[in-house]
């Protein structure tokens, strides 16, 4: 297919220490463990206390490098998929670059929960041009710092975490597809504004808002559409996939889409039960868990699929 493409050399992930179970949320929110589990599949999530996103991403990045036997100085590019880094500027990628002791170009990529797929596609372009041999992709967010903890319909859904993959030359990528459909009504996190005496824009509450039912519908339909599309491009049927690796937004989304695609749940990687929706980190985190548990065998065919604010979607077929 292509002379110059990538393969995954290693995976890693990092979650903050503090775990919050549904029962604890029910102590201060009008919700219940039963409601959360039934609607989302989530039992608990990890939330940051004194950890920064840089802490989580540095830990994941360092581990990915060590597992692959690659020194930070060998990196050619750091791509960081995040909704909001620790600072607005410098980029999150630059903050992690300093902590790792790398010297390569580093940039952030904004595609919300689809960020990891977008980053894979950007990396593919760099490999195709022959510009890189070692690319570190980091993905993650501290969603706990972006949600309104007085809004029981949203704050229960998310968790904090970071995932990393280290890419080297290879032929793992068989198909990839990204989409965007601009929309800020269904899913949005506004900015908060500064103190310009000239500013006439309305100040907004800097918290996540979401139309749950519409986003659910968007997620299930786009997941099915994208997986069918990339499977067709790669010459494989969805039911022939060894693993479906979906963004972990809601277990019901995964179950619904897997059912429509005729993929049994045993072949879907899930992790949302214990981490909630960790934004773009969710796919590299479940990949890392499966990799570390030796669930993934060389030569297996994986479909990665994500959807998120934008509205963005992305999917790819990889040979492990």
């Amino acid at each position: 297919m292509r002379d110059k493409m990538f393969r995954i050399l290693s995976t890693a992930s990092a979650l903050p220490r503090r775990r919050v179970r549904n029962e604890e949320l029910a102590e201060f929110l009008d919700t219940s463990d039963e409601w959360i589990r039934q609607r989302t599949g989530i039992r608990e999530r990890a939330v940051c206390t004194d950890e920064s996103l840089t802490d989580l991403m540095t830990q994941a990045g360092r581990e990915a490098l060590e597992r692959a036997g690659v020194k930070p100085q060998e990196l050619d590019l750091i791509l960081c998929a995040t909704i909001r880094g620790d600072d607005i500027s410098p980029s999150q990628a630059c903050l992690v670059q300093r902590e790792l002791g790398a010297g390569c170009p580093a940039m952030d990529l904004g595609a919300a929960c689809t960020g990891f797929l977008y980053a894979l596609d950007v990396a593919a372009g760099y490999f195709a041009r022959g510009r890189v041999k070692r690319v570190l992709i980091l993905a993650g967010d501290t969603m706990s710092r972006l949600v309104n903890w007085k809004d029981r319909s949203t704050c229960v859904l998310f968790g904090d975490g970071a995932g990393a993959v280290l890419l080297g030359p290879g032929e793992a990528l068989r198909a990839i597809r990204l989409t965007a459909d601009g929309n800020s009504e269904l899913l949005k996190i506004p900015h908060s504004g500064g103190n310009s005496p000239f500013d006439r824009l309305e100040p907004q509450q800097p918290y996540l808002s979401m139309n749950g039912q519409e986003v659910y519908k968007f997620a299930v339909s786009s997941l099915c559409r994208d997986v069918r599309q990339v499977c067709s491009e790669a010459g494989v049927l969805p039911e022939e996939l060894d693993w479906l690796v979906p963004h972990q937004a809601n277990l019901r989304i995964i179950e619904s889409a897997a059912h429509k695609l005729h993929i049994p749940m045993e072949r879907c990687l899930t992790g949302i039960e214990t981490m909630g929706n960790t934004s773009a980190a969710s796919i590299p985190i479940v990949l890392d868990r499966a990799n570390t548990n030796h669930q993934l065998q060389a030569g297996q065919t994986l479909a990665l699929t994500a959807f998120g604010a934008g509205l963005t979607t992305g999917a790819c077929i990889l040979t492990w």
């Binding site: 039934q38 609607r39 749950g212 039912q213 659910y216 519908k217 299930v220 339909s221 809601n250 019901r252 619904s256």
Partner: protein, 73 residues
């Protein structure tokens, strides 16, 4: 015909006997939450080739069948 097909789809979704679902069965009686409703609306849209709105008026299985038939005419 539409009603029977709607009942068959619901029975498959709930993994229950179609005999347990009637024209007057409500979503609540069938233990379906708002996400189940969205899922089923999507399935009905695929099966019948219609666009359905989740409105307050659609409360029973019979209401769904009527809404689908109205779209098809």
């Amino acid at each position: 015909m539409t009603l029977e097909k709607v009942i068959a789809i619901l029975a498959e979704y709930k993994e229950c006997d179609p005999q347990e679902i009637h024209e007057n069965s409500t979503f609540e009686e069938l233990e379906m939450d708002s996400l189940d409703t969205v899922d089923l609306m999507m399935t009905f849209e695929d099966e019948f080739g219609v666009q359905l709105e989740m409105s307050e008026d659609v409360k029973t299985v019979g209401d769904i069948a009527k809404a689908i038939q109205a779209q098809q005419e």
